[in-house]
């Protein structure tokens, strides 16, 4: 009994390994205790927080199947759904959220998350391949496509200046200088294509992160419900 409370306290204090170990100890010492399911929930959450997301989700999905307690079941599903959202697996997350009971207090949050998830395909992503191609055709065009106007102007002018200098060197028969400048221009041109691809990737990362954060905020479970009928409120503050 105490070990289960200790595990919960560790989880609240973000000592996830200790929480998982304490919960496991509790299950071993009290295999038939009614708080066993609560303990498995703590264990599953902790395993996910440690970073072993697949194992944690497996524990929680088994728990959702086995437990007769609907609150625990729904909370486990919510945690699994959030973990899938965090990994960008939006369709699977939507399926998990759809399994949360209508009677549950978490249902509204899950329904809201599902509404957001329905728009996952509308996230304004940019194609890195297209950005690279545009950058190859006209230096700066790839940046412009990825909504980086300042970089686009700079890329165009910088590459253009070196290309002009190279042509001038050759037209004035400074062939050695021209060759040197041509090599530098080639690297800058290749860098411009790389940069266009990179800014498109960064744009996508930023957009996906914002989308995920909106769902994560919606599905946050702020209150930890004690399995023995007691409520445990957690207070958090930032400074």
């Amino acid at each position: 009994m105490d070990k289960n409370r200790i595990a919960g306290a560790y989880l609240q204090g973000e000592e996830f390994e200790k929480a998982a170990n304490a919960a496991e100890d509790f299950q071993r010492e009290h295999p038939n205790h009614p708080l066993r399911f609560r303990s498995i929930l703590i264990q599953g959450k902790s395993i996910i927080k440690i970073g072993h997301t697949r194992e944690g989700r497996k524990v929680l999905l088994n728990l959702a199947k086995e437990t007769p307690d609907l609150r625990i079941r729904n909370e486990a599903l919510m945690v699994v759904g959030r973990s899938l959202v965090d990994e960008g697996r939006f369709k699977e997350a939507d399926e998990i959220f759809s399994r949360i009971d209508k009677e549950s207090s978490l249902y509204k949050k899950a329904a809201k998350a599902r509404r957001y998830l329905a728009g996952a395909e509308e996230i304004p992503l940019k194609s890195p391949e297209l950005a690279g191609l545009l950058g190859a055709i006209l230096p700066g065009a790839g940046h412009l496509y990825a909504e980086r106007r300042g970089s686009a102007v700079f890329a165009f002018m910088f590459t253009g200046a070196f290309a002009t200098a190279t042509m001038e060197a050759f037209s004035n028969e400074h062939n050695e200088l021209g060759c040197g400048l041509a090599a530098i221009t080639g690297l800058i041109y290749a860098g411009n294509i790389f940069s266009a691809v990179n800014v498109a990737h960064n744009h996508n990362l930023k957009q996906t992160k914002a989308f995920k954060e909106r769902i994560m905020d919606t599905t946050r479970v702020g209150m930890w419900v004690g399995g023995d009928g007691t409520f445990m409120l957690s207070l958090g503050w930032c400074f």
């Binding site: 106007r149 790389f194 940069s195 990179n198 990737h201």
Partner: protein
């Protein structure tokens, strides 16, 4: 030309300071023990020369952290000559509008836009 040389050289003999290159102690120079990727041995001394002798005279102009020269040094060490050069060019290009795309944090005594190497090689580098 002579005037420019004197202008740069004069502070080097003033007030017991050997030269502005002594200021590099304050700067962000990446860990010397980092493993160096092959093919970057030509460029690394050039960047170090820039950091030690040119940048202190030119002043702290880079708004990013790590500074462009440190970033370039890291890129050459991690990815070698070719990718290192591409990443350096990329940094110089996307620095132009970095203020809209990177978080501003206090680094040392001034605010800088945080743009580490990992933010730009996450999509192809093996971590």
């Amino acid at each position: 030309m002579i005037g420019a040389v004197l202008l740069i050289a004069t502070p080097a003999f003033a007030g017991g300071i050997k030269g502005p290159w002594e200021l590099d102690k304050k700067r962000n120079i990446v860990n010397e023990n980092h493993e160096t990727a092959p093919g970057s041995y030509i460029t690394l001394p050039l960047i170090r020369f820039f950091q030690k002798y040119i940048s202190p005279v030119d002043g702290e102009r880079c708004p990013c952290f790590p500074t462009c020269s440190s970033y370039s040094l890291q890129a050459y060490r991690k990815h070698g000559f070719f990718i290192g050069t591409l990443m350096t060019v990329d940094r110089l290009f996307h620095e132009a509008d970095i203020e809209k795309h990177a978080p501003l944090r206090k680094v040392g005594d001034r605010d800088r836009f945080i743009d580490p190497l990992e933010n730009n090689d996450f999509w192809f580098a093996d971590h």
